[in-house]
Amino acid sequence: MQSEEIREKLEDILPKVSKPTRYLGNEMYSIDKDLDKQQINFLLAFPDIYEVGMSHLGIKILYHLLNEEDGIAAERVYTPWFDLEEKMRELGIPLFSLESKEPAKNFDIIGFTLQYELSYSNILNMLDLANIPLESENRTKDDPLLIAGGPCAANPEPIIDFFDVIVIGEAEELIKEVVDIYSQWQKTEDGKEKLLHQLAKVSGIYIPSFYDIRYNVTKVNSFMPKYSDLSDSITKRVISDLDESYYPTQWIVPYMDIVHDRINLEVARGCSRSCRFCQAGMIYRPVRERSQERLEELASNLIGKTGYEELGLTSLSTSDYSQIKGLTEKLVEDYSDLQVGISLPSLRAEPFSVELGKKVQQIKKTGLTFAPEAGTQRLRDVINKGVTEKDLIETVQAAYDAGWKRVKLYFMIGLPTETEKDLAGIVSLAKKVAEIGKLKVKVSVSTFIPKPHTPFQWVSFNRMEELKDKIDYLKQNLRGKGLSLDWNDPALSLLEAAFSRGDRRLNQVLIKAWQLGAKFEGWSEHFDVSIWRQAFKEVGLDLEKYVYRDFNLEARLPWDHIEIGVTKDYLRREYNKALAEEVTLDCRSTECSGCGVNQILDVDNCLVGGGSNNED
């Protein structure tokens, strides 16, 4: 089916599906290029619905970066919601790009982002809807080249069968190299193997089919690169200077409400706080800040071109940005006349945050969110969350005095060494916060999941019965005026835990689960763990046993060939310090904690306010 026919059929279908605006593809600043006239057509694919995918910064960056090049067209595709998928299958409409309604199969390259393990089944479903063979070994030169990147590429093993190429690290740094090599190859008669071999030489590119890996439980029994010129580890690619790196000066303004409907101004990348559970804190190192000057320039362009009413200053920990006070003041001063609200989505629980909050709330006052993560100081020391109860109470008091009425607190259950005392700590901390004036306190509890490349990568995931008991305990005790609680389904976390530390055997589980009807796992109303149990069984594994495999501190782990920048020695050291309840301080303000990232990646921490001990 060609794009014209797809367009015609959509005319009839769209009025009958929910939220047809998702599929229009003609938003402001979306591209209108003739695909037939481009050298390379690149499809950026996000394995979730439009509202989620459109909120993602990475895709925005790549979309505009690629489209600014002559000869390249980049279009978008998101997962069609159930109602449209049903109609597409009924009428034989293949997965199509939003802009040109071009079948996905006709693109040269398709890039998927791996944001979340529970969206993997959607990737398979989208490939199937596109009539593209799922497994790379079954695809030919005529099929698109399938690339994946994003945070879950820190351990891509569970999903490598479906991709030809995995990007390790920051794609805006290397995507043009990939496209160039592809377009050179396209002009030759060479086979796909030759293309992959050339790509394998690009730093940050992992070609999974070139590595033969065999396992015993979690231990890697054998690891064999296919060619002698391949490195036995793939090092993350990073940008050394954020000011110099590409950032769009305009971006697509959607018609419909999306999850984060605002301009995101990324003030910094990376975090050096060393929270031991946090994968982002490890895999996005080193810390790199954008200059205030560049941020002001970007803000001016983006507000002028999009007309957005909100500008979010984003990073893993925005109050850590060294020029945050000056930047916030300047932006509020410059844009309050235009009624543009400045928001700070990730703040640390410290009084300084409230000071910042006061500056931005001149325009619009939303709720404040803080993440103490654990209920007692002991456990906060274990996880290295450098926030004290005093910090939190003082911060919330200041927020209350400044007029805030709502506070959200994030906690985790199932953290290593957690006892009943720590749970009781969550309850008492939340109650103390609620007692400050007449605050409404929403407690949000998620399940700790051990993630690769963190000090807790060896830690056991909590038993399901324990997790259920813990949630029951919180449900029973977190009651009272102004208090509310929400939590997530531990079965979802169990599956996420399986995939986050998974290995190559999971590729077949994924196929089975998808065949059994798995999709939209992240949407709890569509999640059915029994499908996954069945899929594991059919492949000869057991979901529970698989999650609770023994992760040995000394053994080679399934993701050890991915060099994310922090050394395994550092992670082991941090793991031991966690068990000894010892904290590690932020290397920005004290001495280097020796994670290794500056040596391995040859990129220094880059703080625009100075003060980095790596800068000498």
């Binding site: 605006t21 303004v253 018609y255 419909m256 409400d257 007309g307 235009l338 009624q339």
Partner: protein, 235 residues
């Protein structure tokens, strides 16, 4: 100052909701640096008010909107600058300054004209279609049930809410009707309800399927006189 504008909402944006349209306009105003007034308080809203919300899926050549500006501004420039910043499918067709104390659009507009296109599986007989409309107009009472969200269904007589009906075109399996019907706060008839009323009474319309609805005009109906909202404001 206040500006009353007439706007078109085309095919490209027919699925966007009323709220989406509000946001799109607000963002376009900001891009165009038009000094729109904002409400005070917790959640400032721009001083933009519509005459009548357009249902999702319907295109229009006559949406009326009042804009309240903080300072004086050239109406010509308002139209030109805003159009430059509006996405394809949305266009300001006319803009006039109106007295600040003009009654709101919502309070005045009470009639809407639509072009309603339907298709069927069967070949349509033109005479039968004419008879259907004549019969409909000859009746005093035509009851229909309205389904309401979170409320019980309500039955009402829609005949007094239909002012004019015309057969515009009949082609094989397609029929086009023009209807002037009541709209606004004192009573609002939906095109979908009108079509449903046909379907329930006339065999010819059993299989009518709405394919395209376009709002052609919004009016202030005073007895038999039809005034446009701009005419009313400047009267």
């Amino acid at each position: 100052m206040k500006i009353r504008a007439k706007m078109a909402k085309g095919d490209e944006v027919k699925f966007i909701s009323h709220l989406d349209l509000m946001n799109t306009l607000t963002r376009a105003l900001r891009r165009a640096r038009i000094p729109i007034k904002f409400s005070q308080g917790y959640n400032p809203r721009p001083a933009i008010s519509f005459g009548s919300a357009l249902a999702v899926g319907i295109v229009s050549q006559c949406e009326y909107i009042d804009f309240e500006l903080k300072t004086d501004f050239s109406v010509e420039k308002f139209k030109k600058d805003l159009n430059q910043e509006l996405p394809t499918g949305i266009e300001i067709l006319k803009a006039r300054e109106i007295p600040v104390n003009t009654k709101s659009l919502m309070a005045k507009i009470n009639a809407a004209r639509y072009r309603i296109e339907m298709k069927t599986e069967n070949i349509i007989d033109e005479n039968e279609a004419k008879e259907m409309l004549a019969d409909f107009l000859a009746k005093d009472e035509i009851m229909i049930v309205r389904k309401r969200r979170n409320k019980s269904d309500r039955e009402f007589n829609l005949r007094p809410m239909v002012f004019e009906l015309k057969l515009l075109d009949v082609m094989e399996k397609r029929i086009v009707i023009e209807a002037l019907i009541q709209t606004g706060s004192s009573g609002n008839l939906r095109t979908e309800e009108l079509v449903r009323a046909f379907q329930q009474r006339y065999p010819i319309s059993n299989e009518f399927e709405l394919t395209y609805v376009k709002r052609l005009g919004l009016y202030v109906k005073q007895k038999d006189k039809l005034l446009t909202p701009i005419e009313v404001a400047l009267e």
